[in-house]
Symmetry: D2
Subunit: 465 residues, 4 copies
């Protein structure tokens, strides 16, 4: 049995660059950008490059370090590129689903990187198939490709074709579309997934998160607006705002867990959002019972620091993460579950011994990992363990590109908070309150989707509302 | 060009287990133990298992996750095992140098895991060769094998042979020796490298660091004493203390950089040692000039926390480490050096902007990484950057199993502290003082080797003293 | 530089099986069948299996032994399968062109294995694209998929859709089409490429050559007729002959070089066809000047035997083929061309010394290999070397699925036979005459395409006729 | 299950080159030479190169095409090289047993390629171990290394050391010994295994078979004599004949099966030896009952041709060998044994139908392959199948470097010829007679070891004589 993590997964990261001056190595830039977005998808990755109107592509299973080598990078030459990192869920594992999606229609080649999930994909597929389309993948990117291709036959430009179809697709979609002479960035009108714009020299750069701009040395320019379509050609950049103006519903869980803490999304620092969540948790605790605040690495550390700042209780490093975990670990039957957690996270008794420990984590998935962690912290000598969760309880599935799915797997649907506390063996347990959510993202004007906590879906979801 | 780190390297980690009850999967236990010791060596690894008197072995290049798979682990059966992780320096790259070293002599098979470096290896080799020995590796382990084999012909037991030769070898050596019916643990009389003893069920376990015991679920029993020879057979454990009692000289850099912070070595928590170093740095700073204290991940974090505790200046998370770095990254010529640092460590401007930043790192190697880091932190908006180093300046090569080598590569041999400060662009720079070293390891009675800082070598080193 | 052969290449082999009784392992059967067809394509291979209406597929670069392993074969379960081996030419190298081609349209999934080449593919693509099709490959199989899918919307069955489109496609095509409940075999009305039908238990089996039936233990039933469409469902087999009856033009080069000698194609044994070619060559030689007849392994051996039979001159084994060649060989610059030939084929001086040697080969490509061979045979002591070629000179490109392409690469377009003889250094040189071709395939009623020799293309080829 | 052949195996091939002029690429030459010797060992291979006195080496599992790549070949630079291909039996599978064996002693480095098997290795090992030797492999090469190293301490040269120890080792040994300034070739006094000398430019070349000289473009000079020690230095070549003159006992099975037919060993063409065996078989057949003579590819073809020549019955190609077999084939449980044989060898009914077939093979191993072949040939329509074996029945194990081992696996030890005939289902069966053996190798003066047929071992074998 191969050990793998039981966390929720983001389903994609996208990156694109158009260098009119042909001075940069756009493949190398895309590789660096995707390296910084690796946390958004580890199962496969790909890069497509436009070399004087001809699109070359490579994608493969695994991390960037596994899927690419020097020879492949050297082979991919050009001055426009898009890239993709992917988390593959059970239904879309096949290699054919690796992105960027590349195909050819009467106006030439088209390549698409995509992050999101459409709620009406089934109907769109059926309509297209009835009109003679053949599907080679289960990716929504192929739906977009067909819709754009067909609309394009009736319009004068690819961007116009995109604007025309935006009314017919529903859900989360961030797209980078590369044609022989354009790079087009699209963010859905709800702004579910992040997308930002940067520049390096003369080149325009797009990325799911600002950390990717940092990684490849671009300067952050601005976020792409929800509903915006940005077109880059050799002659410059053009923005289409026709579809902007809807009430937005950006994914709040990007701030809580998915995004990298050093990213700034729509003006909100992810690190500060998490600190804010920690501060809220501290404010909600009437009695400050702890001697030390520790975070569960890596995603709980920022919130723990916020809790410490707000409460005045010292911040400590109580769990050491083995930095080689995440790579394959071969588990034998003899190993108990707790052993696996300990292999990844080891408690420091010099820090924890005799202490009342406040431990901050970002979420509770099935509960077993939390139970194991609490047991580990106690075994290291902690007198009490108070678990604080920097998000509200998950009560509803997500339909917008993450794998928080069926209700029967969500512990908070089955048990009350007190019951969860007992099951995981904490001395106390508190979650972030839904009403605290606006507080944590106070530096942005965006409205957020919190349907996983509240059940209030921002668009019609068949079977939900 | 492949990116690789320019830090100092530990040259080995060892692990061993003897399970008389034959209830445990010793191969799996060794694999888990080595997984926790991976930071001590990433170039190759190996496991040798004793199956009813016959020793089977596997070793290969790369990390454990690359060198082993399920089939190999299943193939290695038995009830005694030793393992090894290795950092390969330029002179000992060949596959034949992978450990455990396994060979056969008139008394049967022998397998050796080894951590250290002998200062008189050249002379020992020549003596052995003149007596008909043939060398297949450049590892000191083979010297030990020949010396043990030859001494064994004149003595009644392997442990007696080991005790007899200990007077003839000089330097750092931690050995795990496996014969058809014994597992023998040896720590040199100076105690240069750590070695601890644990238990799991009926099994005796040895590991370079206590974190490996934690990882495979063993209980820490005690440290092996400098000079001690511990023999485990199916009938129990026996300790030989004949060679104990010398003044010890454990490597101080194990605490400063090499060891994992969750390990406790000879009674001293590594995390607390680093915290103590940070506290000393704070105490040495007359004026407390900073608004925030940040650590350079991962090894600077503990000292930064100590600095924050002592100074009262808030601790912050100012640099985000890409957790996928460490894996292969393909660098193109276009990438500048700073870009590479940024790919690994990205500054958080939401934390650093407008601040006077105290940044704590464990050491300065060539100076270029520090310069790049300071430049990054400034680019994120820091008003001032004050670098604090949690170790004294390196002035002398190490001959005891690390790769701190020639003086011409050590920046502190060339430049004064003020010159270094200018070269790296810090607003201020301070190192830990040599006289602070005892303070950081105050929880142990061990005496330490600090020759890399002081030039006071605890044993005679040809050409040095 | 990697050594590779400079022979003409067949571009595909196909295999299919439908087992209504679900007793056979159809994946394993397809693997064995493809193993026997490996000579028809070595660059990539694939298998698609229908498991209760859902089609699973795997394809990869390389030989079957490289592209498949036990895990993959076990994963591909079902009771209907099609497979493919592919030779990739310069324009269709990409992985997306690996077959079987699999996609989905409104009537469900469709998988296609294909051998051939359409002469009107460019026009068909353009027509389809103008109607909203998107192309993901450069394979004609995708053209067929779209045409079938669109025609299917207007007809009652897939086979009827296929029959309807057969009038619109022109060129060579042998198809195996797998839908959720059918396996359909199609051979173009000209019968360019071979296809035969076999049975194993209750299962129907289709293969490019009869040797594949032998390899997986099926019995040969009959050849699929040119123009025939055979439909297999769980209820039995049905043959559609609507498109049969055109004058056929099977590829004569299948018998001369491409097919395996143990195959029987449309009633003609390939081995005997080659023997017949050798016999014709002998009959055409007025003077029988040789002491021994040798063949160039492997494809020249059968014709050499025929020459020996007819002439009465003894057959000998004069060249030994290194059976490990064909695998990668790494060539350094120092190696001369002749050395490479010698590495593959070594002359036996014990056989050749002092002899007047008649050497039979299947064709002359660029002339350099022939020159090297003659020089080798002379160096082994042959007194004279008389080269006999078991095919007429190539004068025209092939448009039907082989890579005999541009005239400027064909030595016979540049030089007369006497000039070629001089260039390669033979004592005499004779080719098979075009008028001998019917004689070599006298056991079949099929008419043949010999356009590569005569320029008489059996269908209209744009730019040729 | 992975398919593998059930033939007897040669255990090694050696190659060496010394180029004083430094003009040749000796690594490339060794690679080509080993490529031609691949049939002598497929499990692992290696090359060691002397670069100005320092020996670099690479070896790995698998064929040359798998174990080496361009980067490795480029890395191995120098002007002297030795190489090795190895067949690994059950007891010596480990990677440590790959050759060339390389180690270091007081006089410097030493590398050894070895073909053979010592009958007194157990005693030699014990003696060496009692004197402090440690063994890392189970290869006899390590015994030679220790013996040479120790003897060298008492003598003035490596060649003298070798000559001194030759009286103490017994069995088959062909050695190539490379030291920092010499290449020494050794053939045991009995001449069990072949070794020849060639030249290319100024370079001296040694190889197990002459086909390796051909492959890398060297000229054959002469065979190394049994007992001869040839020393090559930059100043020239020197031959030591002190140990020559014993009655030789070259392995007769080299001619019957192991060697390549295009090799000439000690003056005897292997191809002609096999032809001679076929001629003997024909002469022994009183009645010539066949219509056609076919050989079992590849090793039975030469003898079949000899039978045809002698008998006047036409030679035919009755079995087609799949040239991709030999590579991995994944067998599922469903496949019957016969199917596997058919996958490799397919009968041509156009040749066999209605015929009385004389089928010639080199040996019968377990009998099952022969039974399957006869059944296949009958299924292709043969009226009668008469099996002729071009060697006498195996009755005794081999102790000299092949894997013809225990008597209980030899069918001829259990059954009479008539019983074997029945078991395999032949219409008639005849073996070569022991008294015919001298006839087949009549072109050489060497005496041969035929102990596997006669039990007359040429040296004392513990437990046998």
């Amino acid at each position: 049995m191969i050990y793998s993590d039981v966390k929720y997964h983001e389903e994609c990261g996208v990156f694109g660059i158009f260098d009119p001056s042909k001075k940069l190595n756009v493949t190398s830039a895309t590789y660096s950008g995707l390296y910084a977005l690796q946390h958004r998808g580890q199962q496969s990755c790909g890069i497509a490059v436009n070399n004087n109107g001809v699109i070359y592509t490579h994608n493969d299973e695994g991390l960037l370090s596994e899927a690419f080598n020097e020879m492949i990078l050297n082979y991919l030459k050009g001055n426009v590129a898009i890239g993709h990192v992917r988390y593959a869920s059970a239904d879309n594992k096949g290699r054919e689903n690796n992105l960027p999606y590349v195909s050819k229609y009467t106006k030439g080649q088209i390549a698409i990187s995509y992050n999101g999930s459409l709620v009406n994909s089934q109907g769109l597929r059926e309509t297209l198939e009835r009109d003679g389309a053949m599907f080679h993948t289960t990716s929504d990117a192929e739906i977009f490709a067909y819709m754009i291709a067909r609309e394009r036959l009736k319009t004068t430009s690819t961007e116009q074709a995109i604007l025309n179809i935006m009314g017919r697709v529903s859900g989360a979609y961030t797209l980078l579309v590369m044609t022989p002479n354009k790079l087009i960035a699209v963010r859905d009108p709800k702004g579910f997934r992040p997308l930002c714009l940067g520049s390096k020299g003369d080149a325009a750069v797009f990325a799911s998160e600002s950390c990717a701009l940092d990684a490849m040395g671009a300067h952050f320019v601005r976020d792409v607006q929800p509903g915006e379509v940005v077109v880059v050609t050799k002659d410059g950049m053009e923005s289409h705002l026709d579809k902007c103006g809807e009430e937005t519903s950006m994914c709040i869980f990007e701030h809580i867990y998915f995004a990298r803490p050093d990213s700034v999304l729509d003006g909100q620092s992810v690190h500060l959002a998490r600190q804010n969540a920690g501060r809220c948790l501290a404010r909600n605790d009437k009695e400050k019972v702890g001697d030390i605040v520790i975070g569960v690495p890596d995603s709980g550390l920022d919130a723990a620091l916020g809790y410490a700042y707000e409460s005045g209780i010292p911040y400590g490093i109580g769990l050491n993460k083995n930095r080689y975990v995440g790579r394959t670990f071969i588990q034998t039957q003899q190993d108990e579950r707790e052993g696996l957690v300990r292999l990844k996270l080891n408690p420091l008794s010099s820090v924890l011994k005799g202490k009342r420990v406040i431990m901050v984590d970002d979420s509770i998935v099935r509960g077993t990992t939390s139970a194991n962690l609490i047991s580990l912290v106690r075994s290291a000598g902690a007198k009490e363990v108070h678990l604080r969760i920097s998000s509200p309880p998950f009560l509803n599935p997500c339909y917008f590109g993450t794998d928080i799915d069926s209700r029967d797997k969500l512990i908070a649907c089955r048990l009350s908070i007190e019951e969860i506390r007992k099951e995981i063996g904490a001395d106390s347990l508190a979650y972030l309150r839904v009403e605290d959510l606006p507080e944590i993202v106070k530096d942005t004007d965006m409205k957020f989707c919190d349907a996983c906590f509240t059940g209030k879906y921002p668009v019609h979801v068949p079977g939900e509302n």
